[in-house]
Subunit: 210 residues, 2 copies
DNA sequence: TAGCACCTCCCGCAAATAGGGTAGGCCCGC
DNA sequence: GCGGGCCTACCCTATTTGCGGGAGGTGCTA
C-alpha cells in the first residue's frame, strides 16, 4: 500500500495532539504538516512537499477553511481536501463541496473513521459522515415531503416552468393558458411556498429546500 | 448488532446465487426476499415482511429499477434502497438519487463491499462506490472552468447576491453600492452568462451550468 | 344543495427588471 | 502617455413581475 502524505489544519491544540497520536499509529499515513491557520499552510507549502490529502477545519482564526479552499484548489488542484469540522448544516456542506472538497467529516464521528477516510479519498473516493452523505443526497430530492405536495397539479406545472427559467408568457405558451391564468397560479405558488419573488423561489430551490 | 432484513431484486441468476451465498455468511444480515422482477416485489411484499434494505438492480426485464423506485418509496417510505447496477453514468446515478435511492453500488466493485454498504445504509448512511460518490460531488462543482471565471470580482459578488435570492436593492445594500451600479453589473453578468433574465440565470445555476 | 377546492380569465397599479446608451475615475501595462 | 479594463453612477424606455382584487365554470362531497 502506498504511503499517503497528510496535512492537517486545525486550531484546537488538544485535538491536534490527538490527531498526531492517532496518525502516528497508521503505518500507511504520514502526517507531514500541521498548522493552526490556513495562511500558514498557504505560505509554507510548496510543490516539493505537497501532501496528498489535507484535513481542513472550517472554524479557524483568520481565513476560514471554506474561504481558503478555493485558493488551495486553485494552487494545488490535485490536493484532496477533507473538511473536518463541527458544522453539519447543509449550508456549510454545500459550500465546501462547491469549493472542491472531496470529503466531509464531522467532528462528532469517531476518531477511527479518519484513517479509512484518508485512504478512501486517496483512492479516489469521497468519504463523508453518515449524516453528511444523507444531507448531500437530500439535495437531489426535489420533492421529498415538502411544500410541493401542497401544490395542485397545475401549480406544480407552473412551478416547473419557473424552475426551467421561463417567463410567465413562455409558461402560458407551454401550458396553453392565458398569461393571466399563469400569473394567478404563480401567485398561489408564492403564497404556498412562502416566498415573494421568483428569485427567492429559485434560490430556495437551489438550496434544496423545495 | 441488530439483524438487518434484506431484499434483492436481480435478474442474473448466477449473481443471485453468489449473493445468496455471500449474505448467508453475514450473521447480521438476513436475506428475506429475492426476485428477478420488481413487479414481483411490489405484488408479494406487504407491510408484515417489509425488509429494512433493498438491493435493487436497474437493468431488469419489465419495469426498470429506477422506474420502480418512486412506486416503492411511495408505498414504503422507510425502505432503504441501494441501487446495485452496472450503470455508472451520471444520468442513471442522478435519476436514482432523485427517486429516493440512498445508496449506489456498481457491479464492478468487490463483493465484500455489499455487507458494509447494507449496514451503512441501515445506520442512516449513504453508501456509494468510489467513482459514484465522486460523480455525485461533481454535481456540486459548478465552476471548474466555466463562465464564472470570466466575471470580474465585483460581478461575481453581484452574481452571488442574485443566487442568494436578493433583489438589486438588497445587493446594493450588501455591497454598499448604488442600485444603479448594481444594475450595471447585473447587465454585464447577463451578457457574459448569455442569459437575459434573472430567472434564466438562476435556472442555469440550478442545473450546475454556472 | 351548498360549500369547497380548483382552474380559468380579467382589471389595475406599483415596483422590479431588461436593454440600450453615456461618462468620469482608477489602475495597469504597453 | 495612452488605451483598455474595471468600478462607479446615471439616463432612457419597454416589459415583466408582485400584489390587491373580482368572476364564471367544474367537480366533488358533506
Amino acid at each position: 500500500m502506498d504511503l499517503i502524505t497528510l496535512a492537517v489544519v486545525e486550531d484546537d491544540a488538544v485535538l491536534v495532539k490527538v490527531l498526531r497520536a492517532y496518525f502516528a499509529q497508521q503505518p500507511d499515513i504520514r502526517l507531514v504538516f500541521v498548522a493552526a491557520r490556513v495562511e500558514d499552510l498557504l505560505e509554507e507549502l510548496d510543490e516539493g512537499l505537497l501532501p496528498r490529502v489535507l484535513l481542513l477545519d472550517i472554524g479557524l482564526p483568520g481565513l476560514s477553511g471554506t474561504e481558503a479552499l478555493p485558493l488551495l484548489k486553485d494552487k494545488y488542484p490535485a490536493l484532496e481536501v477533507i473538511m473536518f469540522t463541527a458544522y453539519d448544516d447543509i449550508e456549510h456542506i454545500y459550500q465546501a463541496l462547491c469549493c472542491g472538497a472531496t470529503g466531509y467529516l464531522t467532528k462528532g464521528s469517531p476518531l477511527d473513521q479518519l484513517g479509512p477516510a484518508v485512504r478512501e479519498v486517496a483512492r479516489g473516493g469521497a468519504p463523508m459522515s453518515r449524516a453528511v452523505s444523507r444531507k448531500v443526497l437530500g439535495h437531489f430530492r426535489p420533492t421529498p415531503t415538502t411544500h410541493t405536495a401542497l401544490l395542485t397539479p397545475r401549480e406544480q406545472q407552473v412551478l416547473q416552468g419557473i424552475v426551467d427559467g421561463l417567463s410567465d408568457k413562455e409558461i402560458s405558451t407551454r401550458l396553453d393558458l392565458s398569461t393571466l391564468t399563469v400569473r394567478t397560479h404563480v401567485k398561489h405558488v408564492y403564497r404556498k411556498m412562502q416566498v415573494n419573488s421568483r428569485t427567492q423561489l429559485l434560490s430556495q430551490h437551489l438550496r434544496g429546500v423545495i
